[in-house]
């Protein structure tokens, strides 16, 4: 078999899925099993949770195709520092090529993944398909982290709602995607918390088509239908997760961005919803949510 080398240069706006994935997807279609892939981050100035999740899912997907470990190269120092801080190299070590550069600074102690991070971000987490117990256990570490970020007594409801949003989105992925789930949280400027969740699985349309044979519909239509409470479960029960998160986005004057296969839907606050039909399909589903810290006088009830 002839194997090729590929260099996948990620765009600067890796944090914006709508732009980043189309620039990358057409190159992925040329990659085959056995090929060597280098993911070049030279143009990336900074990474946020959304970019971190995209990078994790991308590397996982590339490994699934090639069955060879992926090489990350060209990192600027600030990007490397961030990826190290969130334990990206450690958590994703199964499918990242180990280099001397990583060995110097990587956390080798797996337990450190669980330690409370003094920064405003947590380490990226990775959960196997259907492993609800592991995800539930991880919340016993996330709870104290949120308490350290938001120690004020008034913030108890806000913290519960953050964990509810995280649970509903992660459990959707863990239950339905048939793929690993990655997630992370980060606090910004003491003003809002961002949650990012992603997988490289079957996507929302892949799940809904189990029950609804809407062959003519676009991926964006399936996302919108899921937001209205439809589920692909045979029992017909549920479909409450995305509705719950939408309501929290409205309550906390936030944003929600869902990207699944060829479709994206963005919801801002209580009203605005925009959609994109991408040129290329990127596997799985990613969800990014911003929940703003409530102003005691202006929380949307």
């Amino acid at each position: 078999m002839n194997c090729s080398d590929h260099v996948l240069e990620l765009p600067n706006n890796i944090n914006d899925w709508a732009i980043a994935t189309d620039k990358v997807c057409w190159k992925i279609s040329k990659i085959n099993q056995g090929d060597i892939v280098k993911v070049n981050l030279g143009k990336v100035d900074f990474i946020k949770p959304s970019g971190l999740i995209l990078l994790s899912v991308l590397c996982r997907h590339l490994y699934n195709i090639t069955r060879k470990k992926i090489i990350i190269e060209g990192m600027q120092y600030e990007v490397y520092k961030y990826l190290n801080k969130v334990s990206f190299f450690n958590v994703c070590q199964d499918y990242l090529e180990e280099t001397e550069f990583y060995k110097i600074s990587v956390f080798s102690d797996i337990k450190n993944i669980m330690s409370v991070n003094p920064y405003n971000t947590i380490k990226i987490m990775r959960v196997k398909p259907k492993d609800f117990i592991e995800f539930t256990q991880l919340n016993t570490y996330i709870g104290p982290i949120l308490n350290s970020w938001l120690p004020e007594s008034w913030s108890n409801e806000y913290k519960s709602d953050i964990q509810t949003a995280l649970a509903e989105l992660c459990n959707n992925s863990i239950e339905h995607s048939e793929s690993e789930t990655f997630f992370t949280l980060q606090k910004y400027k003491n003003e809002w918390v961002e949650l990012s969740i992603g997988d490289a699985g079957i996507g929302i349309s892949g799940h809904l088509r189990l029950k609804y044979n809407w062959l003519e519909r676009r991926d964006v239509d399936f996302i919108k239908v899921a937001l209205q409470g439809k589920t692909g479960r045979k029992s017909g029960r549920g479909g409450f997760g995305l509705q719950t998160v939408q309501e929290l986005v409205k309550q906390y004057n936030g944003e929600m961005n869902i990207h699944s296969l060829k479709g994206s839907v963005k919801i801002t606050g209580s009203k605005n919803q925009s959609e994109i039909n991408h040129n290329y399909s990127f596997p799985g589903t990613r969800c990014h949510v911003i929940l703003r810290k409530p102003n005691m006088f202006t929380k949307n009830m």
């Binding site: 964990q163 509810t164 459990n171 863990i174």
Partner: protein, 193 residues
């Protein structure tokens, strides 16, 4: 008369005794807990008793979990699956309460199934869910009196007997109140869970 089941005991079995906080999350875990434990515990509750699902020391239960572990058994209870047994909750914290209210709302909106829940907290019975005004007023009166007949409702609200009976029956159909036959005349008396 109540039979209390502490959900934290189930959490300890699943996650171990050593944790400082317990979370109950996800629909599959809720469905498994409902099928494997909760329904058996309900059936082991004596007839006429209220099975109280106690959420003390549960840090958070999400919308999907409470829908499976609580609302689904209540629907089955209303259909007569558990005979003359009733279900209530107790010691729900604010975060889980928000999620329970959301689960009730979405079940009604998505499945056209309204499932109000009795919350036994601080020695008071409170209904969770958006009960229509006439039923809520009737329930509040029952809370005051602890036990009422249709005649009591007629006299208090100045409505006809049929209307009064319907209100009480609907509260019973939701399993928000207990119902016992009157010994010396036709009809029932109704009391709190």
């Amino acid at each position: 008369m109540n039979r209390v089941f502490k959900l934290v005991e189930l959490a300890k079995k699943r996650f171990g005794e050593a944790q400082s906080e317990y979370y109950m999350l996800s629909r599959p875990i809720g469905a498994e807990d409902a099928e494997t434990f909760i329904k058996n515990e309900i059936m082991n509750t004596p007839a006429g008793f209220t099975f109280v699902l106690d959420f003390q020391n549960i840090k958070l239960a999400d919308v999907s979990y409470v829908d499976e572990v609580l609302l689904t058994p209540i629907v089955e209870c209303c259909s007569g699956l558990f005979g003359e047994r009733y279900i209530a909750v107790a010691n729900i914290n604010e975060g889980t309460m928000n999620n329970l209210e959301a689960a009730i709302l979405y079940r009604d909106k998505n499945n056209k199934e309204f499932v109000p829940v009795v919350n036994k907290s601080n020695s008071k019975n409170v209904i969770i869910g958006n009960l229509e005004k006439s039923l809520r007023d009737t329930y509040d009166y029952l809370v005051l009196k602890e036990q009422v007949t249709a005649k009591d409702i007629v006299n208090h609200f100045d409505i006809d007997h049929r209307n009064a009976s319907t209100r009480l029956k609907r509260l019973y159909d939701y399993r928000l109140v207990k119902r016992q036959a009157l010994s010396d005349e036709n009809g029932f008396y109704y009391e709190l869970l």
